[in-house]
């Protein structure tokens, strides 16, 4: 639910929405600063921070050494002493390099300080396959972080969600992992232009209403599921729910949808075992078991790596067709 008073919107890309959120928050709060590899003059390998170093100076938009543990750790130190660092980790595949700093420090700092310290750090990182970038630059790791106590994890699918959630992430006193699907940077949509517009972390969005089946989709798969729903119009009525944040997860919105449709498909690009899909299904089973008319279905990446070979990569990545197959199985 948008909190803006000014209702105007502009058509913009996912990338520009993220950049707008960064710019607005840096203007709003001197404590916000950016750091990461190549984020300065160069503007980031996905061009998200382009122009910001010019606007805010290279101190506040700072290139770091290639040092994930170093700059994530530095962000933790800065956040614990009252700043709001936004740290870019170029590819989520490299989050493991800074695992100690994220999982043992960032996530637990408030707790280890006896509740006394705020940890207003935001980690922006990219995920997803589809670019022919091979297995070490194509992973979808958000489940790790949604699983780990003390961290909030968001994964927007639209320019509106990207702007609203990133602004909330930066203003949050908790650490937030902000996952950017690199395949949707060019995706266009309406974005509220009001600088006060934010979206609460932990609220799902019903992107399309339907009667027959609920598709809980994330990131790129939200767009694909919406197109599929259009295609199936008149045949199957599909409701598309985008959780937008993975932790906290809006169980109520998902269960409410399944209570209406009686059927559930979960589409997320993470590997299928022990993952985000399982959590969504489990929560529906816990709270809405008796409204289920068919076994819930999962659409994701098989338990393998993303291949370099383009035809194999296509094969492995979940697409609209896979969501379609899953729907066919339950309707």
């Amino acid at each position: 639910m948008a909190q803006a008073t000014d209702q105007r919107t502009a058509t913009t890309t996912f990338r520009e929405a993220i950049r707008t959120a960064l710019r607005e928050e840096m203007e709003r709060d001197d404590g916000v600063f950016l750091m990461g590899e190549d984020v300065g003059d160069y503007g980031g390998v996905f061009e998200v921070t382009q122009g910001l170093a010019d606007e805010f100076g290279e101190e506040r938009v700072r290139d770091t050494p290639i040092s994930e543990a170093g700059f994530v750790g530095a962000g933790v130190g800065a956040a614990a002493t009252g700043m709001r660092p936004v740290v870019e980790v170029m590819f989520s595949d490299f989050l493991g390099v800074s695992a100690e700093q994220m999982l043992n420090q960032m996530a637990k700092m408030r707790y280890m300080f006896g509740g006394k310290t705020d940890m207003g750090i935001t980690i922006r990182t990219t995920e997803g396959g589809g670019m022919g970038a091979a297995s070490q630059h194509s992973g979808t790791l958000h489940t790790w972080f949604a699983h780990f106590p003390g961290i909030k994890a968001v994964a927007p699918a639209t320019p509106e969600a990207a702007k609203g959630l990133l602004k909330s992430a930066i203003r949050s006193d908790d650490p937030v992992m902000f996952f950017e699907d690199k395949m949707i940077y060019e995706r266009e949509g309406e974005m509220p232009t009001d600088a006060d517009f934010t979206l609460p972390i932990g609220e799902a969005s019903v992107e399309r209403e339907g009667e027959d089946v609920t598709v809980v989709a994330t990131q790129r798969l939200v767009g694909e599921s919406l197109s599929l729903a259009d295609e199936l119009e008149g045949d199957v009525s599909v409701e598309v729910v985008d959780p937008r944040s993975l932790y906290p997860l809006d169980t109520d919105a998902i269960v409410e949808s399944v209570e209406k449709t009686g059927r559930l498909v979960v589409a997320d690009e993470s590997p299928l075992s022990y993952g985000t899909h399982a959590e969504v299904v489990a929560r529906v089973v816990e709270s809405g078991f008796f409204s289920l008319d068919a076994p819930p279905q999962r659409v994701g990446v098989p338990d393998t790596h993303i291949p370099f070979s383009p035809p194999l990569e296509d094969e492995v990545l979940p697409q609209a067709a896979d969501v379609r197959t899953a729907i066919d199985r339950v309707v």
Binding site: A74, T81, L249
Partner: protein, 367 residues
């Protein structure tokens, strides 16, 4: 000439092992000198009490610090109140000097959640148990201060073993590139649990590693409180306000020895000889400073006795306070994870509360 210009291979000393002045003493008033002595005595006594509390089952595993008093007290004394201190798990004396009450440290090692909470008025970071993890934090906090325009120094402690970790390299490299006001203080106590210093690094000194990061490294006799104070004071001053040709960060290697076990869970006789321990006991920082202060007329029997009585009383009072702390409430386990409690966590807390209401706490406690 600044002692920081001596290069990383020469060990700086002010008081020799017999308590004779062999270098330029730092400018400290008589009261300050006696205060340093008192803090070291307090630390030694606190340490002995803490170990015995652990042995009696009144406290959890505890990492002793006897032998390391000069390095901790001398360095922490060199900070101003607004400066920040980043401790590892062994810095009981350093944190006390910088404003953390003894009972807080006891509560921490007794396993009370309230022991985690540093007092508001003390600029002391949370205790780091994972090795070297606090090094990038200190660098980042120092960088944040630079962005805010604050002029404070950030003193970060870690052990000799910590210098082998990636976080050490990343934190120091980052500090060099960003020119952050950080003083990296290595308590080289010769051992990382059972692994000796020579098996951590083939470097001749730890201080020389600073050369690779483009800032000063200095080695100091870590059992000489006056040398430690002097080196740290200069490093802190340079961090805050360097000359045009100086970089802000410094790596200090304080050469010392832990007389006791790594923690109360270990037996050092398995990996090191009694002769080695005796040799280092000959460098004990406390008699060293006491000799110097007596010979220069700053201490006599009467003052020494009065100090001993007052520290014993202070430690006893801290033990009483810590042992009188209420039992932690289970709610803290949930409420301290996030700034605002997510629904899921609230439901999980409510589940636990229902169980407690139904069965009572005693069912969950082993004691």
């Amino acid at each position: 000439m600044s002692v920081l210009d001596r290069g990383p291979r020469e060990q700086i000393q002010v008081l020799d092992e017999a308590g004779e002045l062999v270098g330029d003493p730092p400018s400290l008033s008589d009261d300050e000198l006696v205060a340093i002595y008192r803090e070291m005595k307090l630390a030694r006594h606190f340490d002995a009490r803490a170990v015995s509390l652990q042995r009696q089952g009144r406290m959890g595993t505890y990492p002793p610090m006897s032998g390391q008093e000069a390095a901790q007290v001398g360095s922490a004394f060199a900070l101003d109140e607004a400066d920040w201190l980043f401790p590892s798990y062994r810095e009981h004396a350093a944190t006390h000097v910088h404003g953390v009450p003894l009972e807080r440290t006891l509560l921490y090692w007794m396993g009370h959640e309230s022991g985690n909470r540093m007092p508001d008025e003390a600029n002391v970071f949370t205790i780091a148990v994972p090795i070297a993890t606090q090094i990038p934090h200190a660098t980042g906090a120092a960088w944040a201060a630079t962005l805010r325009g604050d002029r404070h120094a950030f003193l970060c402690y870690f052990g000799d073993g910590a210098t082998s970790e990636g976080d050490f390299h990343e934190g120091l490299n980052f500090a060099g590139v960003f020119d952050t006001p950080t003083v990296f203080f290595c308590n080289n106590n010769q051992w990382a649990i059972s692994v000796p210093r020579e098996r951590q690094t083939a470097s001749e000194t730890i201080a020389q590693k600073a050369e690779a990061y483009g800032f000063d490294g200095v080695q100091v006799d870590g059992m000489d409180p006056l040398a430690v104070y002097r080196v740290t004071r200069e490093a802190v001053a340079k961090a805050r306000d360097p000359d045009a040709d100086e970089s802000r960060p410094t790596l200090v290697e304080a050469v010392q020895y832990r007389f006791g076990a790594h923690t109360t869970a270990d037996d050092p006789s398995v990996y090191r000889s009694q002769e080695e321990v005796e040799e280092w006991r000959g460098k004990d920082p406390i008699p060293r400073l006491e000799t110097y202060l007596r010979e220069t007329g700053r201490l006599d029997d009467e003052r020494v006795d009065a100090i001993q009585a007052s520290i014993e009383e202070e430690v006893s009072a801290a033990v009483d306070t810590a042992e009188g702390e209420r039992r932690p409430h289970p709610e803290e386990m949930f409420s301290q994870v996030f700034a605002d409690l997510p629904d899921r966590l609230r439901e999980q807390l409510e589940d636990l509360e229902r169980l407690r209401d139904r069965y009572g706490d005693e069912r969950f406690l082993k004691e």
